[in-house]
Symmetry: C2
């Protein structure tokens, strides 16, 4: 069995786990959770065992020695397999299984805690999960602080210090920008619902297909929290949720997840499981979702074309002018909930989470101090405290799944999205097509410049190659200003 | 790791495969089939590898030696694990993987062949699958003929000769019985549809819950062919399909599959994967589905209670008398399609398939002769030939999945169902409750006499213990006569 076949075997096992997780979130009966958690834990441990076997490591060494550099994709694959392997071998398999079980338990406890808005239900689980995070960080090792080691798993090649510097700078610009945006945001109104779920589903499917999501190799289901997951090289599942009072909630959910999905569908399917067939990082992944949700989905150009179609689906929109509709989807307000936040305030939520995670990992605060710290930092940025922990530190799923270090990639995604969109639309044909809501040329550019490279380049190098310069906040801030601070 | 832990590990891997198969039939995007087949084949091979490992076999031997017979369930488990193991070790793992892949390919070819009603599309795959069946039969060994070895995998303790004898006798009784039933079947009519799918779904869910299916640990989805599958000790999935012209089609599908599902839900969950926590045989499994579908679901007593509820759901039934409705669901006719066949003619379909499978395995006919043989035998029993192969030898999924030897268990199920129902309702309290469509006592009796025993007794012994005598056709024939030949 060749090294690459072994890597593919691990991907097969991992993708099998994704099928189980997808089912767990979509269709699993309420009383069936325990055994599913055992099945997931088994698969995680099995994949880890394969990735850290003697045979695997020997095959990797042999291939590295034999590599003459004549095939740059192969060389990149070996480099990334080595990077991943060096991390994997430091983690014992039983830790993987124990962490998987703790994540399942943490996830269930978090659901109960959020429902009751009672942090004490979740606190012991968060303690355990922070313990696992620190244990892994210490096993992996780090140059600066434990958070570095976690971040590396989501966004390779960056550091806590670099993120902190970026976020500090961004916060200086965003604080006044968001306040002004909220202050000048005109009142928004949408004709009252119900916007029937079945009609939302048809409209969403039309939009998703129109921007390029392939339903031959993908589908959309309903979950409490929207997500995108890949169950095989040609099997991408999106989910969304529905509010009968506002059809744009599920729609932007779908456009966001379809952005992730189109990235996955644009990866080289023949290389599924190899680094060259895998997404490079979460910051790049999120750039794809945010680009389609925000740069495209909240633009006037998009709605010039799709608003009449929306009016055809939802009779209450007839007679409601496009201009007022745009005001609705471009409104800015200080909301306690991240997933409901607009672009002008979104990153303030991320910066807050990053600061708390970092303090937790550095043991500057205890788990018990999380709610109070959250509320203090929230007040500092938003001017008020959330009404309860359900609307505060219990709102997000990530920590309950052990995803500490994940949040910063959302803001990286926003920054990358703006820079990619600007670079692409600066090309005259793409700019002209996008202005007419014809998105095929834009998708082709993303396929060519981002998707097809998989994980062969580091995120920064990939951005530089695609846009001519390393990621920077300029385009993003300019985008926010022109959308939220324009005179109206 | 104890032997029983090893058996549980194999069950975990196999049940993971069931999740993948369930998704394949319910939600898999049309373009995603190939990789799913690879995932399934991997899991099948992995489970087989575990079941035939040195460590497993040593653990089994050690436990057998140590067993003092003081715990009869443990002894039964060891006996059945040994029986299964002796079969498994005879099959090389690569054959398992190759057969799994051939089954996936065969399944896809069968779908295409049936759609085009073109047997030639499926023929080479059937040839391959018959080849696998023979190869396995020869590896397993058999006393009489290759079919014995296959049958043993579905219904332990029986033989081809015994089935042939049973079926010959049954056919003698059924030939006149079915002809008379069809001849005296009054014309059936149902008020025209549409019976909306969503309304059918609500009604079906009410009925399924009412007879005892637990939705906390189960659910119902939609597929081309109804089935029931178990994804974990507390996770049972049913499926059905919908005709807008006749709501009883999906309803009887649900009652049938719920019968399977309640059996699975009644097995000792703590023993999941062990023989004592597993269904004993397909003939017993099918007895549960047929009992709820036919003995219960097509009875006047059931509809005394549920017809008013059906009328509430489907306005077109208002004013349509119960008596005419009963005539509709108790009609008898010679139909080319097994899954649409009524009780009076169903087993003729099974006998036909058994005869063809046996001839194929004994190489008395070639694969190419299947369509003509089918049509000849069909004409012999039904008096006409099916209009094409889609309505003939291509109608069933089983062969395409390698399920040769499976069909006879349907008729065993019918026989067992009648015998169990009669024995249970002969108990005054159960009889009285069932007459009022209160099915809790009947389910309790089945839980007690069938479900809780899992696979600790052979099917025949289980039937004998539950009903006081070994399975025989008397009760079944009596049931058919009283339902289909009563003067009306």
């Amino acid at each position: 069995m060749t090294l690459f076949d072994r890597v593919r075997e691990i991907a097969l096992v991992s993708s099998t786990g994704h099928i189980l997780s997808w089912d767990q979130e979509t269709y699993l009966p309420s009383g069936s959770a325990d055994y599913r958690s055992a099945q997931l834990s088994y698969l995680a441990a099995h994949a880890h065992k394969l990735a850290t076997s003697e045979d695997f490591l020997k095959a990797l060494e042999a291939d590295e020695e034999a590599d003459d550099g004549s095939d740059p994709v192969r060389t990149a694959n070996l480099r990334e397999i080595r990077r991943e392997s060096d991390r994997s071998v430091k983690i014992p398999t039983d830790l993987v299984a124990r962490e998987s079980t703790a994540q399942s338990a943490g996830h269930h406890a978090w659901i109960a805690a959020r429902k009751a808005s009672d942090f004490s239900i979740f606190a012991p689980h968060l303690e355990t999960l922070v313990g696992f995070a620190l244990e892994k960080a210490n096993l992996w090792g780090f140059a600066g602080e434990p958070y570095d080691a976690l971040l590396e798993g989501f966004e390779r090649g960056t550091s806590t210090a670099a993120i902190a510097q970026l976020f500090d700078a961004l916060r200086k610009d965003l604080a006044p920008l968001s306040s002004q945006a909220v202050a000048k945001s005109p009142p928004s109104e949408l004709p009252p619902g119900p916007y029937p779920v079945a009609t939302q589903q048809s409209f969403n499917a039309i939009v998703a297909a129109e921007i390029g999501f392939d339903f031959e190799t993908g589908r959309i289901d309903t979950t409490a929290h929207p997500f995108c997951t890949t169950l095989g090289p040609r099997d991408v599942r999106l989910t969304t949720r529905y509010m009968e009072s506002d059809f744009t909630s599920s729609l932007f959910g779908v456009m966001h997840e379809a952005g992730h999905g189109m990235y996955e569908q644009g990866l080289p399917a023949a290389d599924f499981g190899l680094p060259s067939g895998s997404a490079v990082s979460l910051g790049i992944h999120e750039s794809q979702s945010r680009l389609w949700e925000n740069q495209v989905g909240r633009s006037p150009e998009f709605w010039e074309k799709f608003y009449p179609m929306a009016q055809g689906h939802f009779p209450q929109l007839k007679g409601f002018p496009l201009e007022k509709f745009l005001r609705h989807i471009q409104r800015a307000e200080f909301s306690p909930i991240r997933v409901e936040a607009d672009e002008a305030t979104y990153d303030l939520h991320i910066v807050l989470r990053f600061r708390i995670e970092r303090m937790l990992l550095n043991r500057e605060i205890s788990v018990a101090q999380v709610p109070a710290t959250w509320n203090d930092l929230f007040r500092e940025s938003f001017g008020f405290a959330p009404e309860d922990d359900a609307h505060g530190c219990l709102q997000d799923i990530h920590w309950s799944m052990g995803g500490i270090g994940y949040f910063p990639t959302y803001t990286l995604g926003n920054i990358n999205a703006a820079q990619l969109f600007k670079a692409a639309t600066a090309i005259p044909e793409i700019g002209a097509a996008t202005a007419k809501a014809d998105y095929a040329p834009l998708l082709t550019w993303l396929r060519e410049n981002i998707h097809r490279h998989g994980g062969t380049l580091d995120p920064t190098a990939l951005m530089e190659q695609a846009t001519g310069r390393p990621p920077a906040t300029d385009d993003y801030l300019q985008h926010l200003k022109s959308r939220y601070l324009r005179s109206s």
